[in-house]
Structure formats: structure tokens, C-alpha cells
């Protein structure tokens, strides 16, 4: 059952991510990417990261991708058809080869050993447990994240304004 779910969600997420970078129209890319986010939320839930799985759906699939779709559809971003939408073929080949070279050390991250999961402690990854950690040990990074979001908000307003009075 676990293997079936992993293969289903993992295969689907890879297929949709490929679709997102291959498809010509930005709207199709965004829809594919939303599917990838949902599959990854399922994979997070499989690993007892309940809060993170919920946040993945709410923040990534909900807020961030909605913002992307908003920008694409409001501004009618259209990619030029054909060769102009992609880089030169030799550059593409170089990119794929170098990315493949990156793939090898990433896969061997486990050091060649088979790392097995231990049984999770009760309450692992729940909102209560992660929230307690977030508001005690990691309260400073949490506050800095809120300042970062405020800075992004103010920056977005200033960047799009023509004149500041």
C-alpha cells in the first residue's frame, strides 16, 4: 500500500513537473505545477508531516500558484511560438547534461547505505508539536519571516508605483 502510494504520487509529481517545464503556454505550466504541489502534499502526509502537508496545499497550491495564475491571466503573458520560446539547442543540451551531472551526487546523498525509517513518535509533525517548536525555540526566525513578508509587501507596492508622494 505504501509502495503503491509512493509510486503513484512520486510518478505523478515527476510527470507533472516535466509537463510544467515543457509546455509552451504559461497557464498550462501553472496548472501542471499545482498538480505537482498536491502530489508533494500527499508525500508529506505519508511521512507524518501533517501541518506541512496542509500548508503545502494552502500556501503553495492556494496562494503562490494563484498569484502566478493571476499574473499570467491578468497580463495575458504569451510566449512566442517555436524556437524563440526556448534557448538555443546547444545551450539546452549543455543544460541537460550539466543537470544530469548534478543528479549523480544528489542520488548518492545517502552514502550508498539503505536508510530505513524508524517508527515515528506519537504526535510527530502535528500542528501542536510543530507550533510549540515554532513559538519557543524558533521564535526569532519566525519573527524575521514576518518582517520579510512585510518587506516583500512594501517592496511590491513601491516597485509597481510610478510616483511616490
Amino acid at each position: 500500500m505504501e509502495i503503491l502510494m509512493f509510486n503513484l504520487l512520486g510518478g505523478l509529481s515527476v510527470a507533472l513537473a516535466l509537463g510544467a517545464i515543457i509546455s509552451k503556454r504559461p497557464v498550462n505550466s501553472a496548472i501542471n505545477l499545482i498538480g505537482t504541489m498536491f502530489c508533494l502534499a500527499g508525500l508529506f502526509a505519508m511521512q507524518d508531516a501533517h501541518l506541512i502537508a496542509a500548508l503545502q496545499v494552502l500556501v503553495y497550491a492556494g496562494a503562490i500558484m494563484a498569484l502566478f495564475l493571476f499574473v499570467i491571466m491578468l497580463l495575458n503573458v504569451r510566449e512566442k511560438v517555436g524556437a524563440e520560446s526556448r534557448r538555443q539547442p546547444y545551450w539546452q543540451l549543455l543544460a541537460v547534461v550539466s543537470a544530469g551531472a548534478l543528479f549523480v551526487p544528489l542520488v548518492t546523498l545517502g552514502g550508498g547505505k539503505i536508510l530505513k525509517f524508524k517508527e515515528a513518535a506519537s504526535g510527530f509533525g502535528t500542528t501542536a508539536a510543530v507550533g510549540r517548536l515554532l513559538y519557543t525555540d524558533y521564535i526569532l526566525p519566525f519573527e524575521i519571516a514576518s518582517v520579510l513578508l512585510l518587506a516583500a509587501l512594501v517592496g511590491a507596492v513601491i516597485l509597481t508605483k510610478t510616483k511616490i508622494r
Partner: protein
């Protein structure tokens, strides 16, 4: 049985897809989506190792990555030339 290595492999595949997307596409929106794919691959790895070591610090890190991604998306929306209006009288 699913081991940590399965998740490492999946994360590596997703990360490489993101790298290829950044390097081969010209559209700024699709490049930013590829960056999101890479961030998600890193998140998957963080959650996997948090589960393996039984330490929820990884979940806190994923939370921070999501906050940064949201800020990045909000800022990236301003990148498009048509969002930024033409200055009419000399700008700022």
C-alpha cells in the same frame, strides 16, 4: 518497503527537472515556476530527514522556505514590464 533512499531519488529527480527548466526556458514566469520546483524538492528532502531522525526542526525549516517562496512570488509578480507602469513625468 519505502526507504529514505526512495525519497532522496525522487527529490533529486524533481530538483534536476527544476534546474533544466531554469536553464532552458526564457519566459520569466516559467523560470520562477522552475525555481518553485527546486524549492519543493528541497522541502521533500527536509521532511524526509526530519522523519528519519525524529526531529521536527526540518518542519520548521520547510515553514521558513514557504515564507521565503511566498515573498519571492509576490516580488516576482512585479518583474513583468506591464505591471510596472511607464513613468509619465520623469518617474520618482
Amino acid at each position: 518497503m519505502i526507504t529514505v533512499n526512495h525519497y532522496i531519488a525522487l527529490s533529486a529527480v524533481l530538483f534536476v527537472i527544476g534546474v533544466v527548466g531554469v536553464l532552458t526556458r526564457r519566459n520569466i514566469i516559467i523560470v520562477m515556476m522552475s525555481i518553485e520546483i527546486m524549492l519543493n524538492a528541497a522541502n521533500l528532502l527536509l521532511v524526509t530527514f526530519a522523519r528519519q531522525s525524529g526531529d521536527m526542526t526540518g518542519h520548521v525549516f520547510v515553514f521558513m522556505v514557504m515564507a521565503v517562496a511566498a515573498a519571492e512570488a509576490a516580488r516576482g509578480a512585479c518583474d513583468h514590464p506591464r505591471v510596472v507602469q511607464e513613468p509619465r513625468d520623469g518617474g520618482y
